[in-house]
Symmetry: C2
Subunit: 144 residues, 2 copies
Amino acid sequence: MLTIGKLGEAAGVKVPTIRYYEQIGMLPPPERSQGNQRLYTGKALDRLTFIRHARDLGFPLEAIRELLGLSDTPNQPCAAVDQIARRQLAAVKARIARLTALEAELERMLEQCGCGNIADCRVIEVLGNHELCAHDHAASEDKA
Amino acid sequence: MLTIGKLGEAAGVKVPTIRYYEQIGMLPPPERSQGNQRLYTGKALDRLTFIRHARDLGFPLEAIRELLGLSDTPNQPCAAVDQIARRQLAAVKARIARLTALEAELERMLEQCGCGNIADCRVIEVLGNHELCAHDHAASEDKA
DNA sequence: CTTGAACCTATAGCTACTAGAGCACTTAGG
DNA sequence: CCTAAGTGCTCTAGTAGCTATAGGTTCAAG
Protein backbone atom coordinates (compact mmCIF):
# COMPACT_ATOMS: atom_id res chain seq x y z
CA MET A 1 0.00 0.00 0.00
CA LEU A 2 1.34 3.36 -1.07
CA THR A 3 0.73 6.77 0.36
CA ILE A 4 -0.12 9.47 -2.12
CA GLY A 5 3.41 10.84 -1.92
CA LYS A 6 5.00 7.49 -2.76
CA LEU A 7 2.52 6.92 -5.54
CA GLY A 8 3.30 10.27 -7.05
CA GLU A 9 6.99 9.63 -6.83
CA ALA A 10 6.65 6.21 -8.41
CA ALA A 11 4.53 7.46 -11.30
CA GLY A 12 6.22 10.81 -11.77
CA VAL A 13 3.05 12.74 -10.99
CA LYS A 14 2.69 15.52 -8.46
CA VAL A 15 0.53 14.90 -5.43
CA PRO A 16 -2.08 17.61 -6.13
CA THR A 17 -2.40 16.25 -9.64
CA ILE A 18 -3.31 12.83 -8.27
CA ARG A 19 -6.02 14.33 -6.08
CA TYR A 20 -7.21 16.28 -9.09
CA TYR A 21 -7.42 13.09 -11.14
CA GLU A 22 -9.46 11.50 -8.42
CA GLN A 23 -11.74 14.51 -8.31
CA ILE A 24 -12.48 14.38 -12.01
CA GLY A 25 -12.91 10.61 -11.95
CA MET A 26 -9.75 9.60 -13.78
CA LEU A 27 -8.65 7.61 -10.76
CA PRO A 28 -11.05 5.71 -8.49
CA PRO A 29 -11.15 6.88 -4.86
CA PRO A 30 -8.70 4.66 -2.99
CA GLU A 31 -9.02 3.14 0.45
CA ARG A 32 -8.24 5.33 3.38
CA SER A 33 -6.13 4.71 6.45
CA GLN A 34 -7.56 5.08 9.92
CA GLY A 35 -6.34 8.67 9.84
CA ASN A 36 -8.17 9.32 6.54
CA GLN A 37 -5.09 9.21 4.35
CA ARG A 38 -5.26 7.70 0.88
CA LEU A 39 -3.74 4.25 0.42
CA TYR A 40 -3.06 3.02 -3.09
CA THR A 41 -2.56 -0.43 -4.57
CA GLY A 42 -0.25 -1.48 -7.38
CA LYS A 43 -3.23 -1.32 -9.71
CA ALA A 44 -3.63 2.36 -9.01
CA LEU A 45 0.04 2.82 -9.81
CA ASP A 46 -0.42 1.07 -13.15
CA ARG A 47 -3.38 3.20 -13.99
CA LEU A 48 -1.65 6.42 -13.02
CA THR A 49 1.45 5.45 -14.97
CA PHE A 50 -0.71 4.82 -18.00
CA ILE A 51 -2.32 8.22 -17.62
CA ARG A 52 1.01 9.93 -17.14
CA HIS A 53 2.47 8.32 -20.19
CA ALA A 54 -0.49 9.11 -22.37
CA ARG A 55 -0.38 12.71 -21.15
CA ASP A 56 3.30 12.86 -22.03
CA LEU A 57 2.35 11.78 -25.52
CA GLY A 58 -0.11 14.63 -25.60
CA PHE A 59 -3.38 12.73 -25.36
CA PRO A 60 -6.10 14.89 -23.82
CA LEU A 61 -7.63 13.55 -20.64
CA GLU A 62 -10.86 12.73 -22.42
CA ALA A 63 -9.02 10.52 -24.88
CA ILE A 64 -7.21 8.84 -22.02
CA ARG A 65 -10.51 8.18 -20.35
CA GLU A 66 -11.65 6.39 -23.50
CA LEU A 67 -8.43 4.44 -23.73
CA LEU A 68 -8.74 3.35 -20.12
CA GLY A 69 -12.28 2.23 -20.75
CA LEU A 70 -11.19 0.27 -23.80
CA SER A 71 -8.31 -1.36 -21.99
CA ASP A 72 -10.87 -2.89 -19.65
CA THR A 73 -12.39 -4.88 -22.52
CA PRO A 74 -9.38 -6.85 -23.78
CA ASN A 75 -11.38 -9.09 -26.06
CA GLN A 76 -12.70 -6.35 -28.25
CA PRO A 77 -10.86 -5.53 -31.47
CA CYS A 78 -8.49 -2.63 -31.02
CA ALA A 79 -9.71 -0.54 -33.92
CA ALA A 80 -11.17 2.01 -31.53
CA VAL A 81 -7.84 2.31 -29.75
CA ASP A 82 -6.10 2.80 -33.04
CA GLN A 83 -8.51 5.47 -34.03
CA ILE A 84 -7.83 7.49 -30.90
CA ALA A 85 -4.11 7.21 -31.43
CA ARG A 86 -4.46 8.19 -35.07
CA ARG A 87 -6.51 11.20 -34.13
CA GLN A 88 -3.80 12.23 -31.72
CA LEU A 89 -1.14 11.71 -34.37
CA ALA A 90 -3.09 13.87 -36.79
CA ALA A 91 -3.39 16.60 -34.17
CA VAL A 92 0.34 16.47 -33.53
CA LYS A 93 1.12 16.65 -37.23
CA ALA A 94 -1.18 19.62 -37.67
CA ARG A 95 0.50 21.44 -34.82
CA ILE A 96 3.93 20.75 -36.22
CA ALA A 97 2.90 22.09 -39.61
CA ARG A 98 1.51 25.24 -38.11
CA LEU A 99 4.47 25.81 -35.84
CA THR A 100 6.88 25.30 -38.70
CA ALA A 101 5.14 28.06 -40.63
CA LEU A 102 5.36 30.34 -37.60
CA GLU A 103 9.01 29.50 -37.18
CA ALA A 104 9.72 30.52 -40.76
CA GLU A 105 7.81 33.76 -40.35
CA LEU A 106 9.57 34.65 -37.13
CA GLU A 107 12.97 33.92 -38.63
CA ARG A 108 12.21 36.03 -41.67
CA MET A 109 11.12 38.89 -39.44
CA LEU A 110 14.27 38.71 -37.38
CA GLU A 111 16.61 38.40 -40.33
CA GLN A 112 15.20 41.50 -41.92
CA CYS A 113 15.54 43.62 -38.83
CA GLY A 114 18.56 45.86 -39.09
CA CYS A 115 18.34 46.42 -35.35
CA GLY A 116 18.26 50.17 -35.55
CA ASN A 117 15.46 52.17 -34.02
CA ILE A 118 12.08 50.86 -33.15
CA ALA A 119 10.74 53.36 -35.68
CA ASP A 120 12.07 51.24 -38.50
CA CYS A 121 12.08 47.91 -36.75
CA ARG A 122 10.99 45.22 -39.11
CA VAL A 123 9.47 43.15 -36.32
CA ILE A 124 7.08 45.85 -35.24
CA GLU A 125 6.31 46.68 -38.84
CA VAL A 126 5.46 43.14 -39.81
CA LEU A 127 3.31 42.65 -36.76
CA GLY A 128 1.31 45.70 -37.68
CA ASN A 129 0.79 44.63 -41.25
CA HIS A 130 -0.06 41.14 -42.27
CA GLU A 131 0.55 41.96 -45.93
CA LEU A 132 4.25 41.81 -45.20
CA CYS A 133 4.00 38.13 -44.35
CA ALA A 134 5.27 35.44 -46.62
CA HIS A 135 2.83 32.77 -45.51
CA ASP A 136 -0.68 32.61 -44.38
CA HIS A 137 -0.16 31.60 -40.81
CA ALA A 138 -3.48 32.97 -39.70
CA ALA A 139 -5.15 29.65 -39.02
CA SER A 140 -6.70 29.34 -35.63
CA GLU A 141 -6.11 26.68 -33.00
CA ASP A 142 -2.81 25.94 -31.43
CA LYS A 143 -1.47 29.41 -30.93
CA ALA A 144 2.20 29.30 -30.12
CA MET B 1 -16.01 55.44 -36.18
CA LEU B 2 -16.51 51.71 -36.05
CA THR B 3 -18.90 49.68 -33.97
CA ILE B 4 -17.43 46.70 -32.18
CA GLY B 5 -18.86 44.35 -34.79
CA LYS B 6 -17.26 46.23 -37.70
CA LEU B 7 -14.00 46.45 -35.81
CA GLY B 8 -13.99 42.74 -35.18
CA GLU B 9 -14.75 42.01 -38.77
CA ALA B 10 -12.01 44.32 -39.98
CA ALA B 11 -9.40 42.86 -37.65
CA GLY B 12 -10.54 39.26 -37.80
CA VAL B 13 -11.25 39.14 -34.08
CA LYS B 14 -14.47 38.02 -32.46
CA VAL B 15 -16.54 40.57 -30.62
CA PRO B 16 -16.33 38.97 -27.16
CA THR B 17 -12.58 38.79 -27.59
CA ILE B 18 -12.40 42.53 -28.14
CA ARG B 19 -14.36 43.16 -24.98
CA TYR B 20 -12.06 40.73 -23.21
CA TYR B 21 -9.00 42.62 -24.43
CA GLU B 22 -10.47 45.83 -23.13
CA GLN B 23 -11.18 44.20 -19.80
CA ILE B 24 -7.60 43.07 -19.36
CA GLY B 25 -6.22 46.39 -20.56
CA MET B 26 -4.86 45.31 -23.93
CA LEU B 27 -7.13 47.82 -25.63
CA PRO B 28 -8.02 51.22 -24.16
CA PRO B 29 -11.70 51.76 -23.41
CA PRO B 30 -13.13 53.50 -26.46
CA GLU B 31 -15.65 56.29 -26.66
CA ARG B 32 -19.28 55.40 -26.31
CA SER B 33 -22.29 56.41 -28.35
CA GLN B 34 -25.31 58.02 -26.76
CA GLY B 35 -26.75 54.55 -26.36
CA ASN B 36 -23.61 53.34 -24.58
CA GLN B 37 -22.19 51.39 -27.49
CA ARG B 38 -18.47 51.29 -28.13
CA LEU B 39 -17.13 53.44 -30.98
CA TYR B 40 -13.65 52.75 -32.27
CA THR B 41 -11.17 54.83 -34.24
CA GLY B 42 -8.73 53.70 -36.90
CA LYS B 43 -6.05 53.71 -34.26
CA ALA B 44 -7.92 51.08 -32.32
CA LEU B 45 -8.13 49.01 -35.48
CA ASP B 46 -4.38 49.26 -35.95
CA ARG B 47 -3.76 48.20 -32.41
CA LEU B 48 -6.14 45.30 -32.58
CA THR B 49 -4.69 44.17 -35.89
CA PHE B 50 -1.26 44.23 -34.33
CA ILE B 51 -2.48 42.13 -31.41
CA ARG B 52 -4.24 39.71 -33.69
CA HIS B 53 -1.22 39.22 -35.84
CA ALA B 54 1.13 38.75 -32.93
CA ARG B 55 -1.30 36.22 -31.46
CA ASP B 56 -1.34 34.39 -34.75
CA LEU B 57 2.41 34.19 -34.52
CA GLY B 58 2.01 32.69 -31.10
CA PHE B 59 3.16 35.57 -28.93
CA PRO B 60 1.58 35.41 -25.49
CA LEU B 61 -0.50 38.42 -24.51
CA GLU B 62 2.11 39.53 -22.00
CA ALA B 63 4.75 39.68 -24.72
CA ILE B 64 2.36 41.60 -26.94
CA ARG B 65 1.78 44.06 -24.15
CA GLU B 66 5.52 44.65 -24.04
CA LEU B 67 5.73 45.02 -27.80
CA LEU B 68 2.90 47.53 -27.80
CA GLY B 69 4.67 49.50 -25.09
CA LEU B 70 7.89 49.47 -27.08
CA SER B 71 6.20 50.53 -30.29
CA ASP B 72 5.19 53.72 -28.51
CA THR B 73 8.82 54.73 -28.13
CA PRO B 74 9.99 54.74 -31.75
CA ASN B 75 13.32 56.39 -31.02
CA GLN B 76 14.62 53.66 -28.77
CA PRO B 77 16.85 50.97 -30.24
CA CYS B 78 14.92 47.90 -31.12
CA ALA B 79 17.05 45.38 -29.28
CA ALA B 80 14.28 44.78 -26.76
CA VAL B 81 11.83 44.03 -29.55
CA ASP B 82 14.27 41.63 -31.08
CA GLN B 83 14.74 39.88 -27.81
CA ILE B 84 11.03 39.25 -27.40
CA ALA B 85 10.78 37.90 -30.92
CA ARG B 86 13.81 35.70 -30.38
CA ARG B 87 12.33 34.35 -27.21
CA GLN B 88 9.17 33.49 -29.12
CA LEU B 89 11.18 31.85 -31.87
CA ALA B 90 13.02 29.75 -29.31
CA ALA B 91 9.72 28.68 -27.75
CA VAL B 92 8.36 27.69 -31.15
CA LYS B 93 11.48 25.70 -31.96
CA ALA B 94 11.30 23.90 -28.64
CA ARG B 95 7.69 22.96 -29.26
CA ILE B 96 8.46 21.70 -32.71
CA ALA B 97 11.24 19.53 -31.35
CA ARG B 98 9.03 18.05 -28.71
CA LEU B 99 6.13 17.46 -31.04
CA THR B 100 8.39 15.80 -33.57
CA ALA B 101 9.49 13.33 -30.92
CA LEU B 102 5.87 12.64 -30.03
CA GLU B 103 5.00 12.18 -33.65
CA ALA B 104 7.71 9.56 -34.05
CA GLU B 105 6.57 7.73 -30.94
CA LEU B 106 2.94 7.72 -32.01
CA GLU B 107 3.84 6.49 -35.45
CA ARG B 108 5.97 3.71 -34.04
CA MET B 109 3.15 2.67 -31.75
CA LEU B 110 0.66 2.56 -34.58
CA GLU B 111 2.94 0.73 -36.98
CA GLN B 112 3.53 -2.02 -34.48
CA CYS B 113 -0.12 -2.58 -33.77
CA GLY B 114 -1.35 -5.61 -35.63
CA CYS B 115 -4.88 -4.44 -34.99
CA GLY B 116 -6.07 -7.60 -33.35
CA ASN B 117 -7.58 -7.62 -29.90
CA ILE B 118 -7.13 -4.96 -27.32
CA ALA B 119 -5.49 -7.63 -25.20
CA ASP B 120 -2.43 -7.53 -27.42
CA CYS B 121 -2.80 -4.03 -28.73
CA ARG B 122 0.55 -2.41 -28.97
CA VAL B 123 -0.86 1.03 -28.32
CA ILE B 124 -2.32 0.09 -24.98
CA GLU B 125 0.79 -1.83 -24.10
CA VAL B 126 3.15 1.01 -24.86
CA LEU B 127 1.04 3.48 -22.96
CA GLY B 128 1.19 1.26 -19.92
CA ASN B 129 4.93 0.83 -20.08
CA HIS B 130 7.30 3.62 -20.81
CA GLU B 131 10.21 1.18 -21.22
CA LEU B 132 8.79 0.28 -24.59
CA CYS B 133 9.43 3.78 -25.86
CA ALA B 134 12.19 4.62 -28.23
CA HIS B 135 12.68 8.19 -27.09
CA ASP B 136 12.47 10.09 -23.93
CA HIS B 137 9.47 12.20 -24.64
CA ALA B 138 8.72 12.75 -21.00
CA ALA B 139 9.72 16.40 -20.88
CA SER B 140 7.13 18.66 -19.41
CA GLU B 141 5.56 21.76 -20.93
CA ASP B 142 3.67 21.85 -24.14
CA LYS B 143 1.74 18.66 -23.95
CA ALA B 144 0.28 17.74 -27.29
C1' DC C 1 -43.99 51.37 -35.44
C1' DT C 2 -42.22 47.11 -35.34
C1' DT C 3 -39.06 43.62 -35.93
C1' DG C 4 -34.66 41.58 -35.85
C1' DA C 5 -29.81 42.18 -35.67
C1' DA C 6 -26.35 43.94 -33.13
C1' DC C 7 -25.12 45.79 -28.88
C1' DC C 8 -24.69 45.91 -23.46
C1' DT C 9 -23.24 43.71 -18.62
C1' DA C 10 -22.24 40.00 -15.75
C1' DT C 11 -21.23 35.40 -14.74
C1' DA C 12 -19.67 30.84 -15.59
C1' DG C 13 -17.12 27.45 -18.23
C1' DC C 14 -13.20 25.40 -20.89
C1' DT C 15 -8.02 22.37 -20.16
C1' DA C 16 -5.07 20.58 -16.98
C1' DC C 17 -3.29 21.75 -13.48
C1' DT C 18 -0.85 24.70 -9.57
C1' DA C 19 -0.70 27.41 -5.32
C1' DG C 20 -2.13 28.66 -0.92
C1' DA C 21 -4.48 28.60 3.67
C1' DG C 22 -5.29 26.29 7.66
C1' DC C 23 -5.67 22.22 9.64
C1' DA C 24 -4.75 16.73 11.08
C1' DC C 25 -1.84 12.82 11.15
C1' DT C 26 2.57 10.14 11.35
C1' DT C 27 7.06 9.06 12.38
C1' DA C 28 11.87 9.46 14.18
C1' DG C 29 14.65 11.24 17.84
C1' DG C 30 15.33 12.51 22.66
C1' DC D 1 5.93 9.76 26.31
C1' DC D 2 6.54 13.93 23.86
C1' DT D 3 7.59 16.92 20.36
C1' DA D 4 8.99 18.68 15.85
C1' DA D 5 9.37 17.80 11.01
C1' DG D 6 7.30 16.05 7.33
C1' DT D 7 3.48 14.46 5.09
C1' DG D 8 -1.32 14.30 4.54
C1' DC D 9 -6.19 16.40 4.47
C1' DT D 10 -9.98 19.77 2.41
C1' DC D 11 -11.30 23.83 0.18
C1' DT D 12 -10.79 27.82 -2.59
C1' DA D 13 -8.79 30.52 -6.04
C1' DG D 14 -5.63 31.31 -9.78
C1' DT D 15 -3.25 30.40 -14.48
C1' DA D 16 -4.00 31.51 -20.36
C1' DG D 17 -7.01 33.07 -23.53
C1' DC D 18 -10.73 33.05 -24.60
C1' DT D 19 -16.00 31.20 -25.34
C1' DA D 20 -20.78 30.72 -23.98
C1' DT D 21 -24.92 31.91 -21.72
C1' DA D 22 -28.60 34.81 -19.75
C1' DG D 23 -31.21 38.66 -19.76
C1' DG D 24 -31.56 43.06 -21.12
C1' DT D 25 -30.99 47.67 -24.49
C1' DT D 26 -30.18 50.10 -28.80
C1' DC D 27 -30.18 50.70 -33.69
C1' DA D 28 -31.40 50.41 -38.63
C1' DA D 29 -34.49 48.77 -42.08
C1' DG D 30 -39.12 48.21 -43.73
